[in-house]
Each structure stands twice: as C-alpha cells, then as structure tokens.
Symmetry: C2
Subunit: 463 residues, 2 copies
C-alpha cells in the first residue's frame, strides 16, 4: 500500500529499512501532513515482518517527531516536514590525473625512515600501553604529560646546553601545530608578520590563513638581513630560522641575533624561532637557539618529526611566561591535548638516550649523503655551482649562476622522473632567487642521489 | 684571566661550559667588540683542559658569529653583540590554591573508563604497531587513514542507517578540533554564529576565540526554537546538537529539522551538527543525524571521546563536497594529520565490531545509573523536580522549580565536597535557567550517585 520494498539480505536491519522508507515518503511529501499511517499490525502483515519490527520503526519516527501518536487514534504524519530533495552534486570526485612516475624525489624535509629503529619503537609502544595508568585515558590537560616535558628539558640541556624548566615546555602536535597556535595567539586586527624571504611557503600559509599581512625581510647567506628591520613601516611578530635558515641554510650570526633581540625589545615584539632541523649539523656542534639570548622575548618551536618520524605528531614550544595561560586556553579550545601513548613512548625514548643515539647515527648517514650529493654535483657540473649555507639539515640550496629555473623547468624535470623544488617557490618577492634549486637528500640512498644528479644534469644541459 | 669556572661533575660537557661562559661575557659586554681572546693553547692551560675542548667551544662560537678568526691572527670578539640582560620574571608560578577535596563530582561528559576494555585495546595497539607499514611513519595526508574512514562509514551505516562514502569522512583529533577547523573554514569578516542557548560553553569559546559574534537562539524541551531564526537580523552558520541538545537534552523534532534546513537553504548557510553522544540513547534506537536530511548543507561532527576514551583524540567530520578541498588545505596548515597508530587500532576496533559491543554494554550501564540517579532524586526531593530532555547521554538537566542556583550555591556545594554545574553557566543570555542543575552520572558507580544526591539534598534543603 505504501510501496515499501524490503531487502532481506541487507546489512541494514528490517526495522531501519521501514523507518527509512517512511521517512523518505514524508520528506518528499508523498505522505502528507496529518495523513494516517496503517496500524503496526496492518503494516507488519503487509510487509511480512513481525509487529515488533514495525514498532521499532514507528517508535523512532515518533521520537524524532516525524509521526504523532495519540492513545486510541491512528498514528499520523507531523506538520511542516516537506523539504525539496536536492540533486546530489555531479561527479563530485575529479578523476586523478595520470600520476607521473617519479624515479628520484629531491623533496625537502624528509628523514630516512628506513633507518628508524622500528623494532625498538614497537617495544616502547608495548611498554607504554602496558603501563598506561587509567588517568592517561582521560583528559590530561593542555600542556602535555609531565614526564615527557621533563625528558625534553633534560635532552635540550645535554644536547644543546639549553637550560629550560619543564614548566615552560608545552607539547604540540608538531611544529606546524605549534606555529598555528602561536599565529592564533599573537593575532590582532590587521596583524603584520615580519618574516624571512625566502621562507617555508607551507608555514607562511599557516599565518596567511589567519589573516596576517606579510612583511618580507630579505635573506642572504647568513640568514635574515636584520638591517632591513628598522626600515619596516609597521611591525609585528618576527619569524626566523636562525640555526639553519630555510631554505638557504645560513646560520644567523651573533651580531644579527643581538640586533634582532634589541629590535624586538624596542618595539615590544615576540620572536618566533623555528628550529626545524638543528639536530643535524655536520661541521660541528648544534647551533645554540636564539631563545637562550632572551627567554622572555623568544618563542622556541621544536619538533620530533625529523629526529623521530613525521607521523608521530609530537613537537613542543618553549613559551615566555607571559604567554603560557593564553596558550593553555587556546589549546583547550583547539584540539584539547595530544594522545597519551606516543607521549609516554617518546619520554622513554628520550630517558634511555635512544634518541641521542639515533640522532648521532643519522647525523653520520646524512653527512655522508650530503658528501655524495656534493661530489656528484662536482662531477656533473664542475665548478658551475655553489652550495649555499651551513653544512647541516636534510637539504641544500644549490646556486647555478646564470641559469633561470621556472615552473617549466620543474615540469620538464617531472616528465623525466625527477621531483625538485625551486627556491623561487619559497619566495615572497619573486625574481631574486631564480638560479637556485633545493635538493633534499636525507631520505635518499647514495645511488639514488647519484641517479638524481645525473637526471638533473641531463635536463640542465638541454636548457 | 677570563674568570671562567668549570664544574667537573656537571652533565654539561666542559667544552660547553667554556662556550657558555665566553658567550655570557660577550653578551654582557665584559668581553668587548674587537677584544682578542687567549689562544686555544693558553686557555686550555689556564683551565686545565685539553686543547680540543677549548677548540670545540671556539669553533661553535665562530660558527655562531660571536668570534671572528683570521689565519695567523688572534681570535677576536665580533661587533654589536652586547644586549642588556633581562631580569628573570618574579616568581612566575602562582602557588596552587588549596585544592578542595571533592567526594562526588557530577561533572558532565565523562565516560566510565573503568569499563573500557583496556586489555583488548592494548592488544589492538600491539597488533597495529607490529603491522604498521613504513609509509605510516611518514606524512599520510590530511584526510586520515583510508581503512579507518571505511570502518567509520560501515559503522555509521550499521548503527544509524547513515549512508556515507568514506571519501566524505575526514578524521579529526576529536570534536573540539573538528569545530575549531570548521570555525576557521567558515569565518568571514564580522562573522555571526547562530547557536543554541544554552549551549556547551567550552565549544562556544572555540568560536569566540575565532572572532565570531554570537547570535543566541533560545532552546526549549525540544531543542532549538527554530521559529526565532527568521527574526535574526543577520545570519551565519548555525550550530545545533539535534540528537540530544546540550545541556537540556531535547531531541529536535522533524518539523524543526525541516524548518532549519529550509532556513539554511534560503540564506545559503551551513549547519554544524554536533553529535557528541547519540550512541547512548536508553529509550530506543539512536536518533538519526540531521545530516541525512541534507548532506550538502550539514557538516556532521562526530567523536570517539565518549564511546572509546577521551585521550584517544580521534573524531571525524562528514563534509559537503564544496568544503572538502578547503578543509584539506586548512588541516595541512593546522596540524597536518593525526598520528597513525591510534587510527589503525581504532579501525580494527570497529572492524571486529568490538566498539559495537562496548557501546551496547555501556548503554546498559549508563541507563542503569540514570535510573539510580532519578530514583535517588525522587527519594530525596519527592516530586519537586523535573528531569529535562530525552533519556540519553551521560548527564541530565534537572529543574527544581522555584529554586535559584548561583555561583554561591556552586561554591557551597564545593565546600561540601560536591562538584556540580549550573545550567546558567552554559547560558549566553543569563537569567532564564537559574532553577536548573546539570548532573553528570556516566562515570559514577550507583553508590557514589546516591551519596551525591544525598549531599545535594542536604545543601538544597539548607537554602
């Protein structure tokens, strides 16, 4: 009578099929306001189901207000239910473009996960999951687990001589997350951000998404050119990568650091220090954070994405006291906290100094790969190139004086199976770094690096 | 000569102590620009350390630009290093207020974690950690692991008859995180948010932090009073909890749902549906999401914080196609992705239908506790109270007609060891719900519930 068809073999229970069919009839207006429904007994007979099945459907429709039931009267359709049905969007998913086959990817910021002690990590996870107290399943507060913060403080002290109280450390879900919260925290109306140019364009997007207007400060081989700061018409928080400028690789020298601090003090600004890979320095000890020069003015952003692995999603910020309460409030309203289990496992990884050992091992491997890259470049290009910046990190910026690299070049590389990034892609003001390429080598075996350089050489020579 | 004192037993290596001491001397101006340092040999002799130790310190100071070294000449101090030292902030940490001893906490939104199958969960984590492919350690994209999204889609289908493609599901770090990203995604200049009043005040904070101005829409026993929508001077996204209004507990009836959808269509608005606890309905089947009525207009926000555990930090949103690309971009610039391991474990928890069983078990337990609460209230207060809303969730709003509950009452409860929330605390416009209290019972054993009601009764009778 109502035209309901049931599928006996569906995963959807029969009562729900009836419920859904009735609902559709009402929403589309085929069952009209005030119309009486068959009794549950009648409909059960018609559909050849138990009366209980029909009752389940009717009861939910009554609870949801689709049907009105009155003692001793027919169950009727409510008023005001009809809404026009909407066409489903046309072919919502775009067909994937034919995926280019990449034989060498010089992408930046990728650690070599093959070297990660996965078995050890699994043991740490097992241990953590076995020892996890009941409280760790509940909300644990926005700052992060105390044992992890203590271990990070101890590790910063022994690896970089950085003295910091675990009270000033706030666990994040990685550097991007830290920067996202900082961007929210420092944002005012028509907020400016003073930032290195070139800089990490993804990170820049985090600030642009928040409505910041961007004031680019040019970068040379020694990082941000702090002389330009005093020429800025308006000020705002300053974003720097002083230990290893991204992407050009310079170390910000002490005099520029001092100038930066003085400028920040004079203008009452915060400095955001993004220390994305300073663990990996090959020509000497890790560079000291700018943070040490003024812990009340510098917000330090650290991450374990490179030293441990990216999908861990754990980083930390060290915050001046003045920002700590605001941070906790913001984090509570953003994503509450990190999950517990990785925090516990990472604390143990640090406590047992397994991270120190892993970083030491990776420093050797990455340093070796960097050497292979530079040698291959020398073989392929003689002296027609210059490596930029400090011997550190997982990538290097290479200048080929006289060349002009553009999107067409990048495309032509892709067509030849090579993924490479232009420094220009990370530039705010375009046109100043067109002769430079970024080569990420950390994740690549020596042979792959050599193949990549050979591919690059073929393409550049055809330019 | 330089007055450097070394601590032989410090965890800080000797070279770093020398480095730090020299740096402090330069930053404070005690070593002046251009001043010559002793040779490494001289300083090593003076400090009774190896020459290498001094070299390490000098080399890092040179790399950092504190010192300038020229072949055949003395190593000298760079220019422009001096910055004033800053007083450390005075006693930064406020002494903790004497913590009140709470014997019964009627806090809302807390599942009973004692009932959670922790051993099973540990097994799932072990399995996940053993089977985790190498790719799962790297960046996996902003949408979340496909196997988890598939399992959520299957679970929504079998538990609520909700047909949704896993392509439309986006994993979040919990409901707050989902709402935070939605707030960012839908925010325009001087953006309004139309929201139930009362509503969850923490969630409201997420939108206020983003700069939304709030347009409160009154709530009655059936949820948002949609008649008020057409009276709004200005519009914006609409936030609702239609399956179980927070905090009053009403189910939004079908006619109001239809009115809401029509209003959203006429004004081209999105509806944000926060489904925070609809798994736990005691008087019948879970209410169908509003989402089913218009998947192109409704953003559905779900969470596993109640059904699994809060520190899991996994939830999901179901997004209209028009918002999906923007979501992915925002997530990439916010916190990139969830960690992998919990996603894999949760997918298996769903696939093996262990979640279904756990929810079924908890539904019985919570329903029982609700019964105990209502019986205790009846014993203590006779008929002087009314329970609000549907029989669902982990809390209930109780109206004591004629009473006036305020902060002084809450404080007096605390002094008697009872934590309780006023509905007024969740109100935007104050003064309309002063006779109502919120009682969270999900996490409490029956005896604790009875003790809590006894405490409450003593306090109310003294009013």
């Amino acid at each position: 009578m109502l035209g309901i068809e049931l599928k006996r073999k569906s995963e959807l229970k029969l009562w729900r099929q009836i419920y859904q069919a009735l609902k559709d009839l009402m929403l589309s207006g085929k069952l009209k306001a005030g119309e009486a429904l068959p009794s549950t007994r009648e409909l059960a007979r018609e559909l050849n189901v138990s009366r209980n099945t029909v009752c389940e459907a009717y009861n939910l429709l009554i609870a949801e207000g689709f049907l009105i039931s009155r003692q001793g009267a027919h169950t009727r359709v409510s008023d005001g239910l009809c809404i026009e049905s909407v066409e489903p969007p046309l072919s919502p998913k775009v067909a994937n473009n034919a995926v280019q086959s990449i034989s060498v990817s010089f992408r930046t910021g990728s650690p070599d996960l093959n070297q990660f002690p996965r078995f050890l990590w699994r043991q740490l996870l097992h241990k953590a999951s076995e020892e996890l107290p009941l409280e760790a399943f509940n909300y644990c507060g926005p700052q992060g687990l105390p044992e992890l913060r203590r271990e990070i403080a101890a590790w910063l002290f022994r690896s970089r001589g950085l003295k910091v109280s675990s009270d000033d450390i706030f666990i994040t879900a990685g550097a991007t997350h830290g920067l996202h919260l900082i961007a929210d925290m420092l944002c005012r109306n028509s907020q400016k951000l003073l930032i290195e140019d070139p800089c990490h364009i993804g990170m820049l997007g985090t600030f642009i998404n928040k409505g910041y207007s961007i004031v680019p400060i040019p970068v040379d081989t020694e990082g941000m050119q702090t002389d330009y700061l005093s020429k800025c018409q308006s000020t705002g928080p300053i974003y720097v990568t002083p230990s290893h400028q991204f992407p050009l690789g310079g170390i910000l020298p002490a005099s520029r650091r001092a100038a930066l601090i003085r400028f920040a003090r004079e203008n009452d600004l915060y400095i955001i220090e993004d220390d994305y890979d300073s663990e990996f320095r090959y020509s000497g000890k890790p560079i000291a954070p700018l943070y040490t020069m003024d812990p009340q003015r510098v917000i330090y952003v650290g991450t374990f994405s490179k030293a441990v692995f990216p999908a861990l999603r754990i980083g930390y910020v060290i915050l001046p006291y003045t920002l700590q309460a605001r941070w906790c409030d913001l984090r509570t309203h953003t994503d509450v906290q990190n999950p517990s289990i990785e925090q516990v496992a990472l604390a143990e990884f640090l406590r047992t100094r397994k991270l120190d050992r892993h970083v030491q091992k990776m420093r050797k491997i990455y340093s070796q790969r960097r050497k292979v890259l530079l040698e291959s470049l020398k073989e392929a290009f003689g002296s027609e190139w210059i490596a930029y910046g400090d011997s550190a990190g997982l990538h290097v910026a290479i200048d080929f004086p006289g060349k002009l690299f553009d999107e067409a070049f990048k495309k032509s590389c892709l067509e030849n199976g090579l993924y490479i990034t232009l420094v220009e892609s990370h530039c705010i003001e375009k046109g100043r770094h067109q002769s430079k390429l970024l080569i990420g080598y950390g994740h690549l075996e020596p042979d792959v690096i050599r193949n990549g350089v050979a591919l690059l050489s073929d393409i550049i020579k055809k330019m």
